[in-house]
Amino acid sequence: MSTAKQLHVLGVLCGIAAGAWLGAAEAPTKLVTIGISPFVISLAMVIGVFVARWTVPVAIKGTGYVYLDLREKVHLVPWAILAGALWAVANTLTVFAIRDVGLSIAFPLWNTNSIVGMFWGWLLFNELRGAGRSQWIKVLGGGLAIAGGACLLAYATSQHSGLAADRTTAGIMAALGAGLLWGSMYIPYRKAYISGMNPLSFVTVFTVGELITMSSLALAFHGGLGPLRDEIAKASPALFWLFLGGFCWVLGDLFQQYAAKYVGIGRGIPLSNTNQLWGLAWGALVFGELAALSPTAVFLITAGSAVMIFGAVAISFAQAPVAEQSSWRNAMLRECERYGLDVRQVEEALLGGDPLARQNPKRTWWEFLIVALAIGIFVWLASLAERRLLDLDLAWLVVLIVASLAILLIAATLLWRRTRFS
């Protein structure tokens, strides 16, 4: 198999794994969000994400490696912080959008993020330039199919009652704003990867931007530290589940980063947007959320799922042809020239090599301490967690956990073998 083909397969697999784990992230939060402020939900998840995002890169590559990578491409630090800020604001907007117009209207609107990302990929990073008509049809058609299928799922699974007419405009604005923000968040992602940065280094800084922005928003909208602390204290029995959701989200996002690196954002984002399918599987099979649905709704869900799978398959077969890869290379050369990067090293990193590893960055004892501390936080929160009598389907719970872990293992093993997590 050629290098280009290997990297395409790897990127597609990472996109699929991203969908699975971003979808799984919804599961722990499903039963604990009632009565908690949207800002506190977002903040708690972001703190969970922060803990995981500092731990996973440290465990896999070590702080020395991450430091070396950041030092070599220090110009990408503000980009990563900007991306984290975009994520935090977008995530908060989605909470308001769901509250004001319901998931069935909000989701299709913010799901436009894949089309926004595709546009930026084409405009700024030469994605799809030089691709033939059939690649365009596969990528654009596949992206639209995934977005359309997700809309059908959202429509069929949502309730349509109790919307206040005066809040509709605000809800639509929030959902469209979230789509624009998330779609534009991929600009820094792609910028980092065509500059040869390791995704694990990028997320380490990304999460700082996320935490600073989310803390500022929560403080501003809750009237200061005191009221916010009270809200968090009230939510403490739910914090473990929110942190766990954040942890699953980190795993999904890491795969999304690798997908953005190896197949670009135009192909990577639609694939990771299949998370809606996984979220539905968790809701329907484990939590029994769809038990009372009408046959029409069940038909819509089946049709929506089939359309999404069709879209993902179409993108999976849309490997970038030589002419498009040459356009990608031009974008990479532009970054190297602008920021004085070593072209050979960046090219090697983009082909799945790990030039930084040759410098043998040292592992230190306190990296184990960071991992132990993170595990300790999770154990402590678990001891505070409210044990609710959940009506779960244990058999499906096991099936979905095993399926998610299998996808994680396959994607992580291939990433390790082919790129050493570069």
Partner: protein
């Protein structure tokens, strides 16, 4: 002469696209929460 890093980043036209989008998002958030 080489330009300093902040100047390089700030003179990169790509940087201002996500930055403007972020400001827009914050403005939307402030507007909808004020109206709530």
């Amino acid at each position: 002469m080489k330009r300093s890093l902040p100047r390089l980043v700030l003179s990169d036209p790509h940087f201002w696209i996500p930055f403007a989008v972020l400001l827009f998002g914050i403005a939307v958030l402030v507007t909808i929460t004020k109206g709530a």
